[in-house]
Symmetry: C3
């Protein structure tokens, strides 16, 4: 699946993922998501209060500041190396159990693509559903 | 499986997980663990010296301080947003190889549920064992 | 598979992993990597500019300083506890999709073992390839 982002921020993809699990007709097994990029992440996050994702963004901005003088890899701008670090500190792949033909997420869990670059990107995710 | 926590801290679950792998009768494959919450984590950590987990806790407390003024999502108290951040920076799911009917952990590796909330919670983990 | 490290730093293992996937004859499925240690990591990282991995190392050194007085687990030296923390903040296991008999990595993605100890170690990784 592809996700077009509009720049830094988190994008809910739970419904698209549930659709792919449904199409696979797997009832019990696992759903694996893999992001083919090193400057964005896949995360499972609280899905009720948007402030959680705002706080998350602010936390990361403080932890890994754009334009930090520590960084020498600045070819694509001040958000280039921070995007790679954010990716390392979070996740490039996720696996979620499938039960009754659906990703068995907790009630407060959503699956998000987290874009770390300031400009929009087209992000590619490979989804593999296995089981019976 | 369920784990009842007594508040913030790490809880060893290796034995319960090995029991479920044993029951599955899978000899060679994978054991996947998924935590249905966004304010606790699943981790693989050094299992010999309890100081490691004490240091880990102190490190996280310094990195993501309770009651940090950065956070706006404070509905459930000063440890609410830090719990979500700790979850993001660690893991909601883990996969461990199964060999000879057991999780093939390294000798110093233990599987822990890491509770990030100060009060006790009942935490739900779905375990999926696949293979032959 | 085993990787002998020469001390702290990241070691590209993409080719060895692709070789194991090829040997497995799986065309479509998943490749799971598990590291049997708590003082090194498995990561997927930008594979073009070595500065990325230098910056990553400097970032971690600042985030989790060797010899930090916060730490009480110092039996094996000032890089002992930082290695465990670096492991927690990154990954002990990774899963990559297999397509057309190869790990379907993005063009800029490489698989690395990240050694966090200052001295060289022999690191054991279990690779499980599943699918058809």
């Amino acid at each position: 699946m592809q996700v077009s982002t509009l720049g830094r921020g988190s994008y809910l993809i739970t419904d698209e993922v549930q659709g792919l699990v449904s199409t696979s007709q797997v009832q019990t097994g696992l759903c694996h998501l893999f992001l083919h990029h090193t400057s964005a992440s896949l995360i499972i996050c609280e899905n009720a209060d948007p402030d959680v994702r705002g706080d998350m963004e602010r936390f990361m901005l403080r932890l890994v500041p754009d334009g930090d003088r520590l960084f020498t890899h600045i070819m694509e701008g001040p958000d280039d190396m921070p995007a790679h670090i954010r990716s390392l500190l979070t996740h490039t792949d996720l696996t979620v159990p499938v039960r009754n033909g659906r990703c068995a997420l907790g009630i407060w869990q959503g699956v998000y693509l987290w874009e770390h670059r300031k400009s929009g990107h087209r992000r590619e995710i490979t989804v593999t559903v296995s089981g019976d």
